[in-house]
Every structure is written in structure tokens, then in C-alpha cells.
Amino acid sequence: MKDGLKVRMSERLAAALREHAMRTYPHECCGALLGRIVTEQGAEEREIVAALALENQRDDSPQNRFSVAPRDVIAAERAAQAQGLEIVGWYHSHPDHPAKPSEYDREHAWPWYSYVIVKVEQGEPGEMTSWRLKEDRKEYEEERIEVHRSEVTK
């Protein structure tokens, strides 16, 4: 895991992501991560302030696939702007599968975004990880999730 590459979120938000993943099990959940990025002295501070649960559009294979409707991407962008935030990433769950991005994830990912993955094992939420695709799209870098107790004002 690269030093300095991290994303912060509150305990409450982390619990909300796990709860969403548990609720949709054995299907994958998905949603937008709204937040802000502050750069101080060259170091990036990425804070996820809110999550927007979205509907998984993959009716054909929801247990191992997710997709977000473009209209939901637009709506999420508008929701972020309305709160003075931006979409800093996306989350989804891996039912009965490690919280590591698959090759299919990589093929469909974008650089810059934080991709948070929640593992759900037999219906119970487990490990949560976050990843950023490198600019050359060839591989991810894992980023540390720093969970804090205080709520961040929107």
C-alpha cells in the first residue's frame, strides 16, 4: 500500500456502506461516494462525506456484477454539486468474494476515483478496502481507509 494514499470517512459512513452491502446480499450493492479533496503542502486529503446508495442495474447477474445507470451518475453528480461536494469514488460489494478488485473491475474502472469494496461473507459484512486505478489503467494502488469517529460537516 503506497504511503500517503488514503481516504477518510466517519464510522457512521463506514457502517452505512457495510449495511447496504449486507442488505443486498447475495447481490452486489453499489453507490456513489461524495466528498471533497483538500491539498495541503502537496499532500492530498480525500474525505468521503456522504454515500449515495444506487440501484444495481445488472438484473442478469447481480450476484457477481454491478453497473450504475448513466442517469444515476448524472443525478449523483448533481447531488454532490448541490452539497458543495464532488464524486470522489464509488463503492460496491463482493458477496462471498475477497475485497480485492477483479480483472473485470479493472477493465471497467477509471483512474482518479476511489473504488471502495466491501466483502460480504455468508451475509455478514467483512473487510472493506479502497483502490485507485493507475493512470495507465494496468493496475490498482490500494489506499488506506482511515475511519474516524467525528462527523464531517457537509
Partner: protein
Amino acid sequence: MAVKVVIPTPLRAHAGGKTAAEFSATTVQEALNKLTAEFAELRRHLYTNEGKLRSFVNVYVNGEDIRYLSQENTPTQDGDTINIIPSIAGGTQ
């Protein structure tokens, strides 16, 4: 007045940090050509080596998917907004 192209957050670093750019253009293709001429780094993210729009790039004009209009030949006029929408998908295997 011009056609406004809204740039999604992952691509803003390749567009001088801009959230949007405006061009005089009569089609989506012309607007995107002007966008990628001004910000050359954007081209490899939006187009394949064969010059086709990448499958995980959605383009909307005034809220309408150009796949259901006239693709990149969709006409544009002053005041229109083109949204580049990243396709968001994945899965375990």
C-alpha cells in the same frame, strides 16, 4: 453562446483542472474534436487507438444519450450541454 462540454472529475486533471469547456460546434464530434485538440491528454481516455469512443464513455446531449440520437453526428447548437459520463461497472469475476 457556445456548446458546453462538462468534464467528469477523473478527467479534469487532463483538462487543466477545468470542470467544463465551451466550443463553437455543430455536432458532438466537432465539439469533442475541439476538446481533445485543446487537451490532447484527454484523447486516450475518450477514444480507442482506432479512433472510436471507448465503450465505457457515455456521451449525453441535453440529457439524452447520443447512442439513441445520431451518435457522434448528433447535431448541436449554441446553448447545448454535452456531458461526458463515465460508465460505472464492475464485479467479482
